[in-house]
């Protein structure tokens, strides 16, 4: 076992997959010589050479498009978006070409698009995006969002080995703040499988990404009042572990969905609808969502903190559900 940060887990996943499979390559802005804006790919160019680590112009459409073309030919590209916010520039290519390639014409397009997402780092409106909902409604893409170093490594490996396109959302706030003992040997975290992070019987918090730690804090606080919270870390947004969600709600009868992206039209809306549709008889309270305000993520710390979910709001929502 080795102590590994979340960002190192991502780097190791890339290195190990590039060693394992010569078809895997990395393409993006500043990923080679500079080692990535966050140093996520430090040393990878030296190890694998410029044929497999490509420094591109500022061209997200070309990065994702070229990666898609290469994937059609059997390569396994990892396309980095320097900030996941810039994936929006490549949105057309991803949802119209990459996502549909298999369904429309039977041509598998196995690429991974990965990049740092999320707020809490004073990045402002264009460096804080949580993009999962933008892609959830465009069939043909898989979307994962690990919150732990273990899951980051295992899910990135799974994404690289997946025969279909995967958007790998890594949370920049967690890069160097999370450190875990990781197995030295090869392991995969299957896409579509949630992790029951904490077992409980009074309330289910369904969450992912950096919000799992906020859920932890809230659960600890509520435990002092004798409330037992179950935390479902989805890890995969699409496909998602519907069974784990429904099983949890059947047990606790109260469900909260906690995500960092804004409320309206966020991924939580899908999970809430699914619970209402399939677990209605088990519910003792409405399904509640705690999410960011419906605004672009502001820069100034008091504004950003107010926009994003915090412990106060999670606890207030939990208590509302418990008192219903």
């Amino acid at each position: 076992m080795a102590e590994t940060t979340y960002i190192d887990a991502i780097r190791l996943a890339m290195i190990e997959e590039m060693q394992r499979d010569e078809r895997v390559f990395l393409i993006g802005e500043d990923v080679g010589v500079y080692g990535g804006a966050f140093k996520t790919s430090a040393g990878i160019l030296d190890q694998f050479g410029p044929q497999r680590v490509i420094d591109t112009p500022i061209s997200e459409v070309a990065i994702v498009g070229a990666a898609s073309g290469a994937a059609l030919m059997g390569m396994r590209p990892i396309a980095e978006m320097q900030f996941i916010d810039f994936i929006t520039v490549a949105y057309d290519m991803l949802v119209n070409f990459t996502a549909t390639s298999r369904y429309r014409v039977g041509s598998p397009c196995p690429l991974v698009v990965r990049g740092p997402a999320g707020g809490g780092t004073h990045g402002g409106p264009f460096h804080s995006l949580n993009p999962e909902a933008m892609f959830m409604n465009r069939p043909g893409l898989k979307i994962v969002a690990p919150g732990t170093a273990y899951d980051a490594k295992g899910l990135l490996k799974a994404a690289i080995r997946d025969d279909d396109p995967v958007i790998f959302i890594e949370h920049k706030f967690l890069y160097r703040r999370i450190k875990e003992d990781l197995p030295e040997d090869d392991y995969i975290v299957p896409i579509g499988k949630a992790n029951i992070r904490r077992r409980g019987k009074d309330l289910s918090i369904i969450t992912w990404g950096a919000m799992i730690y906020l859920a932890d804090e809230a659960a600890e606080e509520l435990a002092k009042d004798g409330v037992s919270v179950e935390i479902i870390d989805l890890r995969s947004i699409l496909p998602f572990d519907e069974e784990a969600i429904l099983e949890s709600v059947a047990k606790t009868n109260r469900a909260m969905i906690l995500h960092e992206a804004p409320l309206t039209g966020g991924a939580g809306a899908e999970f809430a609808a699914r619970i209402a549709e399939k677990a209605f008889d088990y519910l003792d309270a409405p399904v509640k969502r705690v999410a960011a305000l419906d605004v672009p993520t502001p820069y100034s710390p008091p504004l950003e903190a107010a926009a994003l979910p915090d412990k106060t709001r999670v606890l207030a929502a939990a208590r509302e559900l418990l008192a219903y």
Partner: protein, 342 residues
């Protein structure tokens, strides 16, 4: 007033058989499209129908300059049916595509010539967001280089399509990476109803090459041998590692954007002027002048073409429509949908 139209007669090392084969593809393209129009009028072809009337020359000639045995890949747009016929696409597959049949190459999921896999077929279907295929073709040629194949890519884009950001990003990326990619801008004067002077202030579309730093050429798009020669030069440059060439072929769409469009926005005298420059009769005239072909040769080719198009139509008409329960299949790997025989 008739204008003397100069047509080049350099055959660029093509054999007589090859010259006649080009004529076969020209006639096949035109005849197949005429058949699709007939089927469209019988409501057997559904959705839109986009002819390449007047532009068959550049589609066929350019695609003929590739070497498919080396893994070369051509990427057509909707008006480049001739190019995929050269690459080996089957007329029956094309008709099945248009008729939305269950055993079309896309099993009814995609329309017109949006089909093809680069490795398996030597051609790849486009998507409708114009310009997107340029980065994709850059990626295909990038993979070819990584896999140590000596393949060259040939991408088509329109005068309108060359205004998109995706076009610029793809061209820039391909050029700076020195990828083996030939890009043909088909300047046919109109993007749907929009004339080129509203599309760009650039003097010529080939001038865009200066922005990328790649080689460029301008060719009479209705001179089959000239287009073949220019493309061949560009393909050879690409294969020798000299990178991207942007070729502007000047041509014209003798019909509207699609069957429903009567081209009322084009002055009728312009259409007449371009009818006189039709690539097919010009090419056949040159072949006859060079002594490589006779009217009997062309008649025989047309007979063969008609027989093939008839057979393809019969086959397509006999195919069933897709089953509704298939609509949810084949999105991801694992259900074996695409591994099933069509």
């Amino acid at each position: 007033m008739t204008t003397e139209v100069l047509t080049t007669s350099n055959t660029h090392g093509l054999s007589k058989d090859e010259l006649l084969e080009i004529d076969y593809y020209l006639r096949l393209t035109r005849t197949l499209e005429e058949r699709l129009v007939a089927l469209f009028r019988q409501a057997k072809v559904i959705g839109g129908l986009f002819r390449s009337l007047g532009q068959e020359g550049e589609s066929v000639a350019a695609a003929y300059a590739l070497d498919y045995a080396q893994g070369d890949v051509v990427q057509p747009l909707i008006r480049n049916m001739g190019s995929i016929l050269v690459a080996g696409a089957k007329p029956s597959d094309i008709i099945k595509q248009y008729m939305a049949k269950a055993d079309s190459p896309t099993r009814g999921r995609e329309l017109n010539i949006h089909f093809g896999h680069p490795e398996r077929d030597g051609f790849i279907g486009q998507i409708s967001q114009l310009g997107d295929m340029i980065p994709v073709m850059a990626g295909i040629t990038l993979a070819g280089r990584m896999q140590q194949k000596n393949l060259v890519g040939l991408a088509f884009i329109g005068d309108g399509g060359s205004s998109t950001g995706a076009f610029y990003e793809g061209m820039n990326f391909a050029t700076v990476q020195k990828l083996p990619l030939v890009v043909i801008i088909e300047n046919n004067g109109y993007a749907y109803s929009t004339p080129t002077y509203k599309q760009t202030a650039a003097k010529t579309l080939a001038d865009k090459a200066h922005a990328f730093g790649c080689a460029s050429e301008i060719v009479d798009g209705n001179d089959v041998l000239a287009v073949y020669g220019a493309t061949k030069r560009a393909v050879e440059r690409a294969r020798a590692g000299e990178g991207v060439t942007l070729i502007e072929v000047q041509t014209f769409r003798l019909k509207g954007h699609a069957e429903h469009d009567n081209q009322a926005y084009v002055p009728p005298e312009v259409i007449e002027e371009w009818k006189a420059k039709d690539p097919l009769p010009r090419y056949e005239r040159v072949l006859m002048e060079l002594g490589h072909a006779t009217q009997e040769d062309f008649a025989r080719i047309q007979e063969r073409v008609k027989a093939e198009v008839d057979a393809a139509t019969d086959e397509a008409e006999r195919s069933p429509m897709p089953r509704p329960e298939e609509a949810s299949m084949g999105l991801f790997a694992g259900d074996g949908y695409w591994e099933e025989k069509r």
